[in-house]
Amino acid sequence: MKPFDEMLVTDEVVRDPYGRFHEWYKDQDPTLLGEKAGEAEAFFRRTGITFNVYGQHEAAERLIPFDLVPRIMARAEWDNLAEGIEQRVTALNAFLDDLYHDQEIIKAGKVPERLIAGNEAFLDVMRGFRPPGGVYTHIIGTDIVRCGENEFYVLEDNARTPSGVSYMIENRETMMQMFPELFAQNRVRPVETYPHHLRRSLAAVAPPACEGTPTIAVLTPGIYNSAFFEHAFLADQMGVELVEGSDVAEIDGRIQMRTTEGYKPIDVLYRRVDDAFLDPNVFNPSSMLGIPGIMDVYKNGGITIANAPGTGIADDKAIYSYMPEIVEFYTGRPAKLQNVPTWRCADDDSLKYVLDHLEELVVKEVHGSGGYGMLVGPTSSRDERELFAEKLKKKPSNYIAQPTLALSTVPILVDGGLAPRHVDLRPFVLVSDKVRIIPGGLTRVALKEGSLVVNSSQGGGTKDTWVLRD
C-alpha cells in the first residue's frame, strides 16, 4: 500500500496546508532551485552548523543534509498534536516524581517493579528528592510519526537530553533567507523564539540558594562532542555561559564557574552531559566531563540540574510500552497520543512471536539510540536476521519489537523534481512553571528512496517544519 503523503493526495490533488506552497513551486525554475540547495549547503558549512561523527578521525565534522521543501501542518492538526504532547509530558513528570517517591503506580500494579528496580536508568541517589519546582524532565523532544490523516504515534519520548533544536532554528533561518516570498504568502508560526522560552523556562525553576536573577549556564562535554554546535548555539542565543567540567568547581556549597574576575555561582545548569558522567563522586568515577560534588550541592538546594538526573527511566524503551497506562494513571484520561504497538521480548510469548516474524518487525535495543543496534526486518537480509536472532535469544530483555510502520512521506527535491521520502517529527517541549511547546519541531527525512531510517548518523536529512496560523 502506498504510504500517506502529506502533500499530494494524487498527482493533481494537493492537501490543504500545502496549497500555497505547491502553487509557488510550480512557478519555480528547477535549475534555480538546485542552485539554491547548493547555496544552503555553503551557508551551513560557513556558519559551522556541523555535527561530529564518532570514530572518524579525519574530516570529523559533517553537515546534516537540508532539503528545501518544507513540511507543513495546518493549525488544527498541530493543535491536536500539541494537546496530546502536553498531556504526555505532564504524565512523564508525574511518573518520575512518583517513581522517586511513593511508587504508587507500582503498588497499583500498572508497571512491574522489576522494570524499575534493576534498571540502570533508575538512580537510587534521586530517591526521596524533589527537584526545584517539582520538575524532572524540563526539555523533551517527543519523536512522533504519522501514518495517516489522523494517525499519529509517539515513537520515543527523549526525556534525557534531546538534541536537534538548533537545526530547527537554523533551518527556518535558511528558508527565510532564501525564499522570503514564501513567508509572505504563508502565515507560519515562529520557532526562533525557542531560546527565549528556554531561558524563561529554566529561570522559573531556580534553586532555593538563588538570590536575584538566576545565573544560567549550559554544560557541554566539549568541542569534540557530536552536538557541540548546538550547545554553543543555545548558550549564545540565550546569552548565558557555555561551560565545561573544567570551568566549574564546588566551592562553599555552590557550583561556581571560573571567570576572569573570580568564581561565580551557577543557579541553573542546562547540562548536555549524560547522567553517568555528571558527578564522578557519585556515578562513573573516571568521568572527566562532570563536576565532582554537584549531586550533593543539588540535593542541598544549591543548584538546579536540567534535566534532572535519573529521567532516563521514563524514556526507557522497556517502560515505553506502558506509556498508555502511565498517562491514564496520572492524568485520569486516556492518552490522546497513541503508542506504537510493542512486543516486550522479555515475555516468552512475545519473544517467540518476534523470532517468528523478524521479517516484518523493527527490533530495537532497550537502551539504544541514534539508530544503532537495530534490525529493520523488511529491508534486512537473511544473514542479518539470523545473526540478530542469536543476539535476541541471548538477552531477550534487552530488546523490544514493533511493527514496521508505513511512515508518512513528504516530497524532497531531487534532480527530476519532487520525490516522496519518509519523515518523522521531533517537537520540542519545555516544562517548568508551565508547558511551552514550540510550534513545529525538527522534521527528519530519510533521503534514500524507500528507507525508513531518518537518523542523521545514518544518512538522514532535515526539513524546515511549518505550522500555519490559519
Binding site: 548558550a235 555561559e241 571560573r258 571567570t259
Partner: protein
Amino acid sequence: MALLGRTANGLFWMFRYIERAENTARLLDAGQRISLTNLSSEPDEWQPVLVSAGVEAAYNAKYQDYDAETVIDFMLCDRDNPSSVRSSLETARTNGRMVRTALTRELWEAVNESWLVIQRRLSAPVSTRELPAVIDLVKRQGALIRGAFQTTMLRNEIFDFCNLGAFIERADNTARILDVKYWLLLPEHSQVGSALDNFQWRSILRSVSAHRAYAWEYDGEYQAVNIIDFLMLNRRMPRSLAHCYHLIAESLGYLDRNYEVHHPCHNTAMAIRERLAGASVRQIIDGGLHEFLEGFIRDNNRLAQEIGQSYRFYPGS
C-alpha cells in the same frame, strides 16, 4: 556578563595563532625573495626562516637538508609543525569554535571560512611557483578576520583579550625576525653608521609590508640604526615592538578599569613599554642587540604567563 577564564584563554590563543599563521606566511615570502635573487651563496639559505619561526629543532628531527620544497611544505602544510600555516589556522579555528559564544557571527564566519579555504588550498603540496598566490591568500584571509574583528566586536574585555593575544604574538615574531638577522645588521662590530647595500633587509621589510613605510620614515638608505629603530622603537610602525607594547599596555589598562582590579601583569607590561620608550638605538647596540632581543622575548613570554594567571585562564587558578 561574566567571562569564563577558559574563554579568555581561547580568545587569547585564537588571536595568537591567527597572527602566527600570517607571520609564517610572511617569513616564507621573505625566504622566497631572498632565494630568488641568488645573491646568497650559502646552501642553507632557508635555515634562517626556520630559526625565525622557532621551529628549527622540530624540522631537524624530521629532515636533514634545507631544500626549498621541504622547508616550504614544513612551514605551510605540515601538521607535525605546530606553527605551520595549516596547524596555526587549525588551532585558531578550534579555539574559535570553543569560544564561539564570545564572537560575533561575522568574526566566527571569517575564521571558519579562512580555515576552510586555506585548508583546501593546502591539501596538496604547494610548488614554489604557486607560493606567492598561497601567501597572498593567507594574508587576505588574515585581513578579512581582522576586518570582521574591528568592525563588529563590542569594545569590551573580549576585544581586549583578543588584542593581547595578537600583539604579544606579533611582538614575539618581530623580535625573532630581528634576532635571526642581527648579524646582518652589524656584520663588523663597528660599522653601525654605514649604509647597508642589503637586498635581504629590503626583502624582510617588504615581507612585513613595510618597505615603503621605511622609505617614508627614514628617507633613503638601509642603515642598521634606522632598521633597528623602525622595527623596535618606532611606535608608528604597526609591527614594531613599541607599537605592540603600546597596545598591550592599553588593553591591560582597559581590563583594569573594567574589572576595577589592578593586576601585576599590568606592571610588567608597563615596565617593558617604558624600557622600549626610553631606549635609544645606540644604547641597544652598545648593550648588545642579541642580548636585548633575547631578554625581550623572555619578558614577553613571561607577560603572557602572568596574564593567564591574573585572569584565571587555567583550572586551579
